[in-house]
């Protein structure tokens, strides 16, 4: 067994007296596609915020590719190779679709500010490379035709797609998707399922997915972690989770 790409041990955080997440553990290996589910308010997004450094965990250990990412800032964690999308879409609205992706390429830009302002050949070539790379990513996600439109003018499904494109532009090893299917119609959900499989293959990323749509999660995730009131109540493949009495209780209430 190789060492996991992302390893999380006993992660906990409380807000005031509320234990939002307690003892959350997770191992994500290369090429994994795992799901994180749970009823509303179970602490799924809090988990993502802990992993990406938006919140600072009270307790616990996080390692990404063998490197500790405890107490790192969000941009450092992104640089270390973990990118995310947001539950409520957070695009750079005034920027074009292409520029949204270009912003994510800033992370790997090596030019100096002086170089950019003096227009050094290096900065010029890099700017060109950023443009090419961004267009290539948009092309693979089917958004190239709309590259020069404002991000807000995209239909809802495409905005979600753009969020994924933007996250991929940071060259992540791990991609966290926070309810990517929220608000999508069945057709869009099918496309999303295909898209997730496609990017996993094409961009060689491990995916951790928060999702409400059970059908979607059960159909594509190899391993599912179920949270309720901040605690992990079940963990396993689709069948195991579905048969777990605690899970049924959490979703349907006590019998």
């Amino acid at each position: 067994m190789t060492a996991p790409l992302l390893s999380v041990q006993n992660l906990s955080i409380s807000f005031g007296g509320l234990k939002a997440v307690s003892d959350f553990s997770l191992d994500l290996h290369d090429g994994d596609l795992q799901g994180l589910i749970g009823p509303n308010g179970a602490g799924k997004t809090t988990c993502f915020n802990l992993l990406t450094g938006v919140y600072c965990a009270d307790d616990g250990e996080m390692k990404l590719a063998g490197e500790s990412i405890n107490r790192k800032k969000p941009f450092q964690i992104t640089a270390a190779g973990m990118a995310r999308t947001f539950q409520n879409i957070r695009l750079f609205q005034e920027l074009t679709v292409l520029e949204n992706v270009k912003v994510a390429c800033h992370l790997h830009a090596r030019q100096s500010l002086a170089g950019a302002v003096l227009r050094s050949p290096f900065a010029g070539r890099e700017e060109r490379a950023i443009d090419d790379r961004s267009r290539a990513i948009l092309d693979r996600l089917g958004l190239l035709a709309r590259a020069d439109e404002a991000a807000t003018s995209l239909p809802y499904g495409d905005q979600r797609r753009l969020e994924i494109a933007r996250a991929l532009a940071t060259e992540p090893k791990v991609l966290l998707l926070d309810e990517p299917a929220a608000g999508m119609n069945p057709q869009e959900k099918i496309e999303l399922t295909q898209l997730i499989a496609f990017i996993r293959e094409q961009f060689k990323v491990a995916v951790l997915l928060i999702e409400h749509d059970m059908k979607l999660v059960m159909s594509i995730c190899e391993k599912i972690t179920v949270l309720d009131h901040g605690e992990t109540i079940a963990c396993g493949n689709a069948d195991e989770v579905q048969g777990n009495s605690k899970v049924i209780e959490a979703y349907l209430g006590e019998a």
Binding site: F86, V103, A123, D139, L144
Partner: protein, 421 residues
């Protein structure tokens, strides 16, 4: 075949391409200095240089308020810091070196070299102050940051008032006790006078050009995009790997640097610096220019700086016919995408307003300049109702042809539909 691969390529990047704009600026500076200035009336020359200084203030504030979306109300403090630093250096160095602070003849001489160094020093000191102010911006947002910057402006003003009295000869400097030299003898409580009058068309053009080129290239670079991303969505920007801490402080540093340079130009233009020159009024003027022009738009900030500075002069004495151009232009811009009827009404209203102000001034002895702030406020209110994104929105003047094409297309499409129906 992919679209992006088929895109026609411009020439391979080289250092040469980046030198074209600076070369044009330097050539223009020489032409303005040697050809235009001799045939320009002193009064208009003075207005023109004030326009240049206002452009630097607006375009540099735009880096903070427009790019990163932080709301700073303390831009005049950097102006004051740069102005007093540069004026202090050039004044006392001139006395030490040449026994007199009077300006020397000619464009390039030892004193203009000194002026250039003093200006850059003023910019650097202001930039250091900008770094200090930038630090709280990491924790504060919106209104809170505005209050902090406002407070910073007051601190600078009060500190400047503690400076010692001015020393006006070499002998006095030599005889001065340490207590007279620290705090520095900038006489900022009253008025720091006899600053060498070195600012001219050449230097103003050069600095405006430097500021515009810097702001433009910054905006078009990966750093500028990251700054604008911070404005658009700070959480997302950080999640996409943008080091928001660094860029927010940088924005303050760059803006302060150029504000300091503007302060130096102003000091060396006016012979004297007063505490009032760098009060809250100047900060607010700069904010109005940025908002009126459109947050993030360099063209907008530049245009607003030109309009408001000339507007000030016009309000002082609204009797010159050619000043009609100004309100007309403003209204034309406000009603930009509107139809011809609206535009025509706009022109008429502008004419009426201008004519009204002119007659008032002539026949009633009213000084409309006294109502400047009311008129600014009205202009802002009108703007917020009619074009809330400012004259240019976030676009630039280079985007205009494309915008116009789009507009025409839309109109022709509509007309086509009408014909079919």
């Amino acid at each position: 075949m992919l679209d992006y691969a088929a895109k026609p390529r411009t020439a391979e990047p080289s250092w040469l391409g980046g030198l074209i704009a600076p070369a044009i600026v330097i050539a223009l500076a020489f032409v303005l200095y040697a050809v235009v200035r001799p045939i320009t009336d002193d009064y208009y020359a003075r207005v023109a240089m004030n326009v240049g200084i206002a452009i630097i203030m607006a375009v540099s504030l735009n880096i903070v308020n427009g790019y990163t979306g932080q709301f700073s109300l303390g831009h005049a403090a950097f102006f004051a810091i740069g102005g007093y630093t540069a004026a202090g250096i050039s004044y006392y160095a001139s006395i030490e070196l040449w026994n007199s602070p009077a300006a020397h003849e000619g464009l390039f001489n030892a004193q203009s070299g000194l002026f250039l160094l003093a200006t850059i020093a003023g910019g650097l000191v202001a930039a250091a102050a900008g770094w200090l102010v930038g630090l709280p911006s990491l924790r504060l947002r919106g209104d809170y940051l505005a209050i902090v910057t406002l407070g910073f402006g007051e601190i600078v003003r009060v500190l400047l008032q503690q400076t010692n009295n001015q020393l006006d000869s070499k002998a006095k400097i030599a005889a001065a006790k340490w207590s007279e030299l620290f705090p520095p003898p900038l006489n900022a409580a009253r008025s720091f006078i006899n600053i060498p009058n070195i600012t001219n068309f050449f230097w103003v053009t050069l600095m405006v050009g430097a500021c515009l080129i810097f702001a433009w290239r910054l905006k078009r670079s990966t750093f500028g995009r990251a700054m604008i991303a911070i404005r658009e969505n700070e959480v997302a920007a950080e999640a996409m790997g943008v080091n928001i801490t660094r860029l927010k402080v940088w924005a303050f540093v760059f803006a302060a640097f150029f504000a300091g340079i503007a302060g130096s130009l102003y000091a060396h233009l006016s012979f004297q610096l007063n505490p009032g020159d760098s009060g809250i009024q100047r900060s607010i003027d700069a904010v109005i220019m940025v908002v009126l022009g459109g947050l993030g738009s360099i063209s907008g900030a530049t245009l607003a700086a030109i309009l408001l500075t000339i507007g000030n002069e016009w309000l002082r004495e609204p009797t010159h016919l050619w000043y009609y151009v100004l309100p007309l232009l403003v209204l034309r811009l406000i009603f930009w995408p509107a139809n011809r009827m609206k535009a025509a009404i706009g022109w008429l209203v502008a004419l009426g307003l201008a004519e009204g102000a002119r007659s008032l001034a002539i026949y009633e002895g009213v000084a409309p300049g006294d109502y400047r702030m009311i008129l600014y406020a009205l202009a802002l209110i009108l703007m917020m109702i009619l074009r809330p994104s400012g004259l240019f929105g976030t676009r630039e003047i280079t985007d205009l042809p494309a915008m116009r094409r789009k507009l025409l297309n839309r109109k022709s499409v509509q007309r086509g539909i009408e014909v079919i129906q």
